[in-house]
C-alpha cells in the first residue's frame, strides 16, 4: 500500500503542478496614449480578423528576468493597440512563445511561430546569441523579425545573404552607440583621467560592452589601470574591487547586467569607494536604486531609455505599466513596448498582412514618437535615437549635465 501511495502522490504532483496558480488579471488603461502613426498612415481598411505577431521572450532560465518584463511591455502594447482600434477592424494578437535561455529553445520557438502559428512578424528573442541562432529562421522565409533587447554587434547583418538581413531589425540601441557617448560626456564633465574596468567575460552583452568601453576610453585618452572579470552567477566582487580601489582610479567602469551591477555598486561602496561608477545599458533599471539604495548615488548610466524623461509618451507608458504590473518598467519593458507598437505601426501602414509590405513599412519608419524618444531605423535597420547619460541622484535617475561637475568633489 505504501508504495502505491507513493506512486499516487508522485503522479498527483504532476497534476498539482500543472494547475494554473494564478491568472494575471489586467485592468485596462482608460486614456489611450497618443502613441502611433495615427495621422501619418490612414486607418487600415483591408485588415480584419486576428493578425498574429510572434514574441519570443525568455520565460525560463538565466534570461527569464529580462524576458518577463519584456513580455509585460509587449502585452501592454498589445492591449493598447486593440483598445484604441489601431489596426481598424483587425485584432492584434501577440503570439508569445517561451524562448528559454538557450539557442536551441529559441530556434524551436521561432520555428513554431513561423511554421505552425503563421505569424506575420516576430519580436524577440531575448538574448543576442538566441537572435543569431533563431532570427534567420524567420528572415529566410521573408518574415520580419525585430530584436528588442539584442545589442551585440552584427545582429542586423548576421547572414551572408543580404536579402535575408533585410528582414532583421532591432530597436535596441547597441552598446556601440550608447557607451561612446557616455564616456565622452563623463570625461568632459568630470575630467576623468584613469579608470579601472570590471566586466563579465562569459556573456556576449557584457563582453561587447567591455570592448566598446575600451575603445572609447582610448579615444578619449583615458588610461586604463586594470581590467578585472567575473562570471555569471558570481556574487562576490570584493576581491576584484579591493584591488581596483587600491589603484585609486578616477572612476570604475562596469559592464554588467543589472543583478551583478547592483552587487558591484553595493560592494564598491562598502569597500569605501565613493567616486563615480560608470555603467551601460545593463544598469538602466529601477532595480538599481531599489536594491542598492544609497549605494547607487553617483552611478552614471548610459542608456537607450530614461525612466524620468518627462516626454508625455514616456510618462503615460510608465504610468500605464506601473498600474498594470505594480512595478516600474525597466528598459527591457520600454523597448519591448515600443517594438510592439512599431510592428503594429508597420502593419497599419502596410494595410496588409503581407510580410514583405510590413517589412518595407517597418524599414521606412521615421520619427516615430515613443517612450524611447523620436525613433527611426537607419539603412541597416538599426535604431536611431539619442542615448542619454543619467546619474543616480536622490534615489532616481537624473540627466547627467555640466551641473554635476562638482558632484564628486569632497
Amino acid at each position: 500500500m505504501n508504495k502505491f501511495l507513493k506512486v499516487l502522490v508522485s503522479c498527483w504532483l504532476i497534476a498539482v503542478v500543472m494547475l494554473p496558480l494564478s491568472a494575471l488579471a489586467q485592468d485596462g488603461g482608460e486614456d489611450a496614449p497618443q502613441i502611433g502613426f495615427w495621422d501619418e498612415c490612414a486607418n487600415p481598411e483591408n485588415l480584419e480578423g486576428e493578425i498574429s505577431v510572434g514574441a519570443v521572450f525568455s520565460q525560463v532560465g538565466i534570461a527569464a528576468p529580462y524576458g518577463a518584463t519584456q513580455l509585460n511591455g509587449a502585452k501592454l502594447a498589445e492591449q493598447q493597440i486593440n483598445e484604441s482600434g489601431y489596426l481598424g477592424a483587425a485584432t492584434f494578437v501577440l503570439a508569445d512563445e517561451d524562448g528559454g535561455s538557450e539557442r536551441e529553445t529559441a530556434i524551436a520557438a521561432m520555428t513554431k511561430l513561423v511554421d505552425e502559428t503563421g505569424v506575420v512578424a516576430v519580436i524577440g528573442p531575448t538574448l543576442s546569441s538566441q537572435a543569431f541562432a533563431a532570427d534567420p529562421v524567420a528572415a529566410e522565409q521573408g518574415i520580419p523579425v525585430m530584436g528588442v533587447s539584442n545589442t551585440a554587434n552584427g545582429i542586423t547583418s548576421m547572414s551572408e545573404a543580404d536579402d535575408v538581413n533585410q528582414f532583421i531589425f532591432r530597436n535596441s540601441l547597441p552598446e556601440a552607440d550608447v557607451i561612446p557617448n557616455t564616456i565622452a560626456v563623463s570625461v568632459a564633465v568630470l575630467g576623468i583621467q584613469k579608470v579601472a574596468i570590471i566586466y563579465g567575460d562569459d556573456d556576449d552583452f557584457t563582453y561587447s560592452g567591455y570592448t566598446v568601453f575600451v575603445d572609447s576610453l582610448d579615444e578619449n585618452g583615458v588610461e586604463i589601470l586594470s581590467e578585472d572579470t567575473f562570471q555569471k552567477g558570481e556574487t562576490d566582487f570584493s576581491v576584484a574591487l579591493t584591488n581596483i580601489i587600491a589603484e585609486e582610479p578616477d572612476a570604475i567602469v562596469v559592464s554588467a547586467l543589472i543583478n551583478d551591477a547592483v552587487q558591484i555598486v553595493i560592494q564598491s561602496r562598502q569597500l569605501g569607494y565613493n567616486g563615480p561608477i560608470i555603467g551601460g545599458n545593463g544598469f538602466n533599471s529601477p532595480a538599481l536604486m531599489v536594491d542598492a539604495g544609497d549605494a547607487s548615488e553617483g552611478v552614471l548610466v548610459g542608456a537607450a531609455w530614461n525612466i524620468v524623461s518627462q516626454a508625455p509618451l514616456n510618462v503615460s507608458f510608465v504610468e500605464a505599466y506601473t498600474e498594470a504590473y505594480g512595478a516600474a518598467p525597466d528598459q527591457f519593458a520600454a523597448q519591448a513596448y515600443t517594438g510592439t507598437w512599431l510592428m503594429a505601426t508597420a502593419i497599419r501602414c502596410a494595410d496588409s498582412t503581407s510580410s514583405d509590405l510590413i517589412r518595407d513599412e517597418l524599414a521606412s519608419i521615421e520619427g516615430f514618437d515613443s517612450p524611447l524618444g523620436p525613433f527611426s531605423f537607419d539603412v541597416d535597420r538599426n535604431p536611431v535615437h539619442i542615448p542619454v547619460v543619467q546619474i543616480v541622484d536622490g534615489g532616481k535617475f537624473e540627466v547627467f549635465t555640466d551641473a554635476y561637475a562638482d558632484y564628486f568633489a569632497e
Binding site: 508522485s10 558570481e234 562576490d236 587600491a246
Partner: protein, 340 residues
C-alpha cells in the same frame, strides 16, 4: 618586501584581501560541509545541494518578509530579521530530508547504483529551481536594504564612548580602518556562525554517540545495522544536518550580499562546492573546511597577484583535476579503494 615582490603582492591591500579570503572561505566551507556529510555517510553526491542552498535563502526571506516576497520585492519586514536564520536552517533541513525520502530512499532500498542517485539528485535540482522560479519568479530579491546591517564598520563621527560596547566597536573599527579592511557586521556574523557550525560539527562527529554512529554507518551500513543502529534514522539526521548547513549558508549569503536571492544563486557554488570537497578529500569533514579556505585563498591570490585573474576558475579546476589524479583521496582524505 622582497618576498612580497616575489609573490607579486607589493601593491596589494593584504589585510583586506586576507579578510576577503576568510569571508569567502567561510562561505565555501559552510556550503561544502553539507555536501561532504551526505557524501561520507551515504556515498551520494547530492547535486541538489545548491538548490537547497537557494531554497534556504527563500525560506529565510519568506519568514521575515511574509507573503510579500511571493509577488514582488520585500519592502518591509513582517517579522524580525533574525527569524530568517532559524527558518532557513530548519527549512533547509526538512527540505533535505524530504528530498531523501522521495529521491534517494527508494533507490537505496533497491540497491541502485550510485549513478542513479546522482541523476535523481539532478532531477530534484531541476524541480527545485523551476519551482522557485514559479513561486518567486526569476527576479532577484532581497531584504529591505535599510534592515540589513551590511554597511562596513567604521569610526563614527560623533562617538559616545561612555558605553563599553561603543569602546569595543571603536577599537574594532580603528583596527579595520588602519589596516584598510572593510567588513560589515553581517559578514562578521557569517564568519562567526560558519566557524561555530564547523567547530560544532567536528565535535559532534568526533566525540558524540551520534557522530560515532554516523561514522559507523559511513564505514559500512550493514555493520551499523547489526550493531543496533537505525541506519535510516542516521541517514535522515545526516540529510537534515546537510540541508540545515546548506540553508544556513544560503541565508547568511543572502544577508551578507543582500539582495542576492534568485533561483540561480546556487549555480556557481554547485561546482565550487564540488571542487572544495575533492580538494579536501571526499567525505572528510575537516577536509571540506580546509578545502574551502584553500580555494578561497587561491582565488584571491590569483586575482590579486597575477595578471591572469580572468583565469582564476580555470586555475582552480586545473588544481582540482591534478589533485584528483595524483591524490584522489584529497589533501586530508583517507586512502580510498575506489581506484584501479
Amino acid at each position: 618586501m622582497e618576498i612580497l615582490h616575489f609573490l607579486g603582492l607589493e601593491n596589494a591591500n593584504i589585510p583586506a584581501q586576507l579578510m576577503n579570503a576568510i569571508w569567502l572561505g567561510s562561505l565555501y566551507s559552510l556550503f561544502a560541509l553539507g555536501y561532504a556529510i551526505v557524501f561520507s555517510v551515504l556515498g551520494i553526491l547530492n547535486l541538489s545541494h545548491s538548490a537547497i542552498f537557494m531554497w534556504g535563502a527563500y525560506f529565510g526571506l519568506a519568514a521575515s518578509c511574509g507573503t510579500s516576497v511571493y509577488d514582488g520585492k520585500c519592502v518591509e519586514l513582517n517579522h524580525a530579521l533574525w527569524t530568517a536564520i532559524p527558518a532557513a536552517i530548519i527549512g533547509g533541513g526538512i527540505l533535505a530530508v524530504v528530498i531523501d525520502r522521495i529521491a534517494f530512499y527508494p533507490l537505496r532500498k533497491r540497491n541502485a547504483p550510485r549513478l542513479s542517485q546522482l541523476i535523481s539528485s539532478i532531477g530534484v535540482a531541476i524541480i527545485l529551481v523551476n519551482l522557485a522560479q514559479l513561486r518567486f519568479t526569476a527576479e532577484r530579491k532581497g531584504f529591505p536594504i535599510a534592515d540589513v546591517p551590511n554597511t562596513p564598520i567604521n569610526v563614527p563621527n560623533g562617538l559616545d564612548i561612555e558605553q563599553p560596547l561603543d569602546v569595543a566597536r571603536l577599537a574594532l573599527a580603528l583596527v579595520f580602518q588602519e589596516s584598510g579592511v572593510s567588513i560589515s557586521p553581517i559578514q562578521i556574523l557569517v564568519i562567526i556562525v560558519a566557524i561555530l557550525l564547523m567547530v560544532g560539527l567536528s565535535y559532534v562527529v568526533a566525540r558524540t554517540r551520534l557522530g560515532k554512529a554516523m561514522r559507523t554507518v559511513a564505514f559500512n551500513a550493514r555493520v551499523g545495522n547489526l550493531l543496533g543502529i537505525n541506519t535510516e534514522l542516521i541517514y535522515m539526521i545526516a540529510f537534515f544536518i546537510s540541508g540545515a548547513l546548506a540553508g544556513s549558508a544560503g541565508i547568511l549569503f543572502a544577508l551578507a550580499r543582500n539582495p542576492a536571492v534568485d533561483p540561480f544563486m546556487g549555480d556557481s557554488l554547485a561546482l565550487k562546492g564540488l571542487t572544495v570537497i575533492v580538494l579536501g578529500g571526499l567525505g572528510s569533514i575537516r577536509g571540506a573546511v580546509v578545502g574551502g579556505f584553500l580555494i578561497a585563498l587561491i582565488e584571491v591570490y590569483i586575482n590579486t597577484a597575477t595578471k591572469y585573474g580572468y583565469l582564476d576558475q580555470a586555475f582552480v579546476f586545473m588544481l582540482f583535476f591534478f589533485i584528483l589524479l595524483v591524490r584522489p583521496q584529497g589533501i586530508l582524505g583517507q586512502p580510498i579503494e575506489d581506484r584501479a
